[in-house]
């Protein structure tokens, strides 16, 4: 609103900086955020910094154990595992963030519509959501992925659609809760049209739980992308992906060549851990009842 801009800006900064203060003071959350930032940097900078090309094969260096030349060893085609883990971070993080964005783009509006308007809208949306939720998230993503065809983009779409019901349910529930607050009725009493009530009253008040849920689902989406790639439905060779690396790496574990699967596995573990800790921290920091 233009009206309050001149006075609102200094005061508006206050709750925001309180939020950051709270988030950073929470050590686990800061650690989680740090992990996420670290992997994001690795995904962006890794390929430029490392001397190894992640898809460059070498017949002279097949399945070499970690050494000074190859810190994480090499895989069955002689590619540097460190370079592949770092550039695989790009696929994983993209898959996590993009698919969750898709899920929110689908689930958010549907959930708000179901919660806000109720009645038939709610019945139809909720029944469809329940039908989708009846399938486990990963199974649904795999089914959709195989229908759409094997590629990273299709995997992201499949994961996004599979995760959308989680957001529909969350936004619907949150909208229902906020809708019964007096201030929404007050907005109606003033004469605000529905679109303004949704934009100014519902959205800002359901934003925090959605953000928290998003970070937690990003973690799940990363696992889902790894699973799809593991099954050959995600990132296609030769482009690296943690899931696909695990898939090939598993064939050599029994021969004691652990580095091909352990390093991408550790990367998945820490990224997911980072997003989960960050999500927990966000939840606490955004909750005004926690001081």
């Amino acid at each position: 609103m233009t009206l309050a801009l001149d006075t609102a800006s200094p005061a508006a900064a206050a709750p925001r900086s309180r939020f950051w203060g709270k988030l950073l003071r929470n050590r686990t959350a800061a650690f989680g955020g740090g992990l996420v930032v670290l992997f994001a940097l690795a995904a962006i900078l890794g390929p430029w910094v490392l001397p190894w090309d992640p898809v460059q094969t070498s017949w002279s260096a097949v399945r070499k154990a970690p050494s000074a030349a190859h810190w994480f060893g090499t895989d069955e085609l002689g590619r540097d595992v460190l370079a592949r883990v770092l550039s695989g971070a790009r696929a994983s993080l993209l898959a996590g963030v993009v698919s969750v964005s898709i899920a929110i783009a689908i689930g958010g509006p549907l959930g708000i519509a179901a919660g806000y308007f109720g009645g038939w809208t709610d019945s139809i949306i909720s029944r469809c959501t329940e039908a989708l939720l009846a399938c486990p998230f990963l199974i649904l993503a795999i089914a959709l992925g195989s229908v759409l065809g094997a590629s990273l983009v299709n995997a992201m779409i499949a994961i996004g659609i599979a995760a959308a019901p989680l957001f529909i349910r969350l936004t619907r529930g949150q909208t229902l809760a906020v809708k019964t607050e007096d201030f929404v009725e007050g907005a109606r009493a003033v004469g605000l049209p529905h679109r303004w009530i949704i934009i100014r009253y519902i959205l800002p008040n359901i934003f925090a739980p959605i953000l928290v849920q998003a970070t937690l689902i990003v973690a799940q989406a990363i696992i889902a992308e790894a699973s799809l790639s593991f099954l050959g439905l995600g990132q296609q060779p030769p482009a690296p992906s943690w899931g696909a690396m695990l898939n090939t790496g598993k064939n050599f574990v029994q021969q004691g060549q652990w580095w091909m699967s352990v390093f991408p596995g550790v990367a998945i573990f820490f990224t997911v851990l980072g997003f989960n800790l960050l999500g927990d921290g966000l939840r606490d920091a955004l909750d005004p009842r926690e001081s």
């Binding site: 609103m1 009206l3 005061a11 607050e181 201030f183 007050g186 109606r188 004469g191 009253y201 005004p288």
Partner: protein
């Protein structure tokens, strides 16, 4: 303030005509839903400029009446007319324009303000919505409104959680006044506040009513609060109006047994009256299955056979209305006259003891006056 066309003292500003609101709850594929008769045939007329109070226990439908009057809820049947115009006949846009003239102050100041908006945004929003003036004028009006309800201009940029309950209720009142309404409905506007703050907010509402020429409808469950501010009182029980009377005569001589019980429930700050109070027993029956006949007969100390068989109509009783078959024949009411109990010898004795005690306590403290009686 702005008196619209067709407004005169004679025409009621708001009329409710046999308004009913039934909520359906539960019910599935093979189950019959429960119908809760929150408001069951309420007819009311509010004169321009008066303060009307609607009182009753929790769950009697008084808040629902307030919301029906603003068409925040759709009535199941019946009509609501604002300055002669049927609200039910208005379309979305017409209703929105109409909302400028009728506003609401909510019960819970902690829930009725959007926590994500600044005070200036909250108070200025109706102005912005209805396009009243330029941005600069809106800003000035907002600051004026804040001053009117006793808030400082530097409060404008803050968020609701930075304020106390009383201050928030003032913000709510400023917002309600922003688009210069002619009718303001307060839904228990002070019941969530501390007693010391209640008086402030009540006084503020009264001042504003004078200043802006408002018509006030105050919904409350507390007769003590109502007494000081209302001209007329409507008493509701289980979705029905049981008595309508000018405030003074209602307090002097409540006609309906339920009104008597409500008045008797006001604590009297005097010793020795405890034994004489006769309070209602039992809970209010469920509005999903209201009792037959007179809805109050299950708890009425004077109930007779006819009460459970035949529903009493709201009858004229000399400038007031009451819905009771037997109000003329009821025994004289002792409860209403309890406000100043007669002095008894026991009380005089206790007061003397108390004074003696106080004098002993105050001995040495210069100028200390012994407590006054009452």
């Amino acid at each position: 303030m702005t008196s619209g066309p067709g407004t005169s003292v004679a025409t009621p500003i708001l009329e409710l005509d046999d308004v009913r609101k039934h909520f359906r709850s539960g019910g599935g594929l093979f189950q019959k839903p429960t119908i809760v008769r929150a408001v069951d045939g309420v007819t009311l007329s509010v004169a321009t400029g008066e303060t009307l109070a609607i009182v009753g226990e929790s769950g009697c439908g008084k808040s629902t009446v307030g919301r029906l009057a603003l068409r925040l809820l759709e009535p199941t049947s019946g009509h609501v007319r604002f300055e002669g115009r049927d609200l039910g006949a208005l379309d979305e846009a017409g209703l929105r324009r109409m909302r400028r003239d009728m506003q609401m102050v909510f019960q819970d100041p902690f829930a009725s303000l959007n926590p994500r908006m600044t005070v200036a945004e909250i108070v200025g929003e109706p102005l912005w919505l209805h396009g009243m003036g330029t941005a600069r004028e809106q800003r000035e009006t907002t600051l004026d409104l804040l001053a009117t309800v006793g808030l400082r201009p530097d409060h404008a940029g803050r968020y609701p959680h930075e304020f106390s309950g009383g201050q928030r209720q003032r913000i709510g009142i400023a917002r309600a006044l922003a688009c210069k309404p002619r009718l303001v409905i307060g839904d228990e506007p002070v019941s969530a506040l501390d007693v010391s703050i209640q008086a402030q907010v009540i006084n503020l509402l009264e001042d504003l009513k004078e200043r802006f020429g408002l018509t006030l409808i105050v919904v409350a469950h507390d007769l003590a609060v109502i007494r000081h501010m209302s001209d007329r009182v409507v008493v509701m029980y289980l979705g029905k109006v049981v008595e309508v009377a000018p405030t003074a005569s209602l307090y002097k001589e409540p006609l309906h047994p339920y009104t008597r019980a409500l008045l008797a429930a006001i604590p009297v700050p005097a010793p020795g009256v405890r034994g004489e109070r006769r309070l209602l027993e039992g809970d209010i029956p469920s509005p999903a299955a209201p009792p037959s006949g007179c809805r109050f007969h299950t708890r009425c100390p004077y109930a007779q056979a006819r009460c459970s068989a035949e529903e009493p109509a709201l009858r004229d009783a000399g400038g007031r209305q009451v819905a009771c078959h037997f109000y003329e024949d009821l025994p004289g009411d002792e409860a209403a006259r309890l406000a100043v109990p007669a002095d008894t010898s026991a009380k005089a004795r206790r007061m003397a003891l108390y004074r003696a005690h106080r004098e002993r306590q105050d001995k040495g403290a210069a100028g200390a006056t012994p407590s006054t009686e009452q």
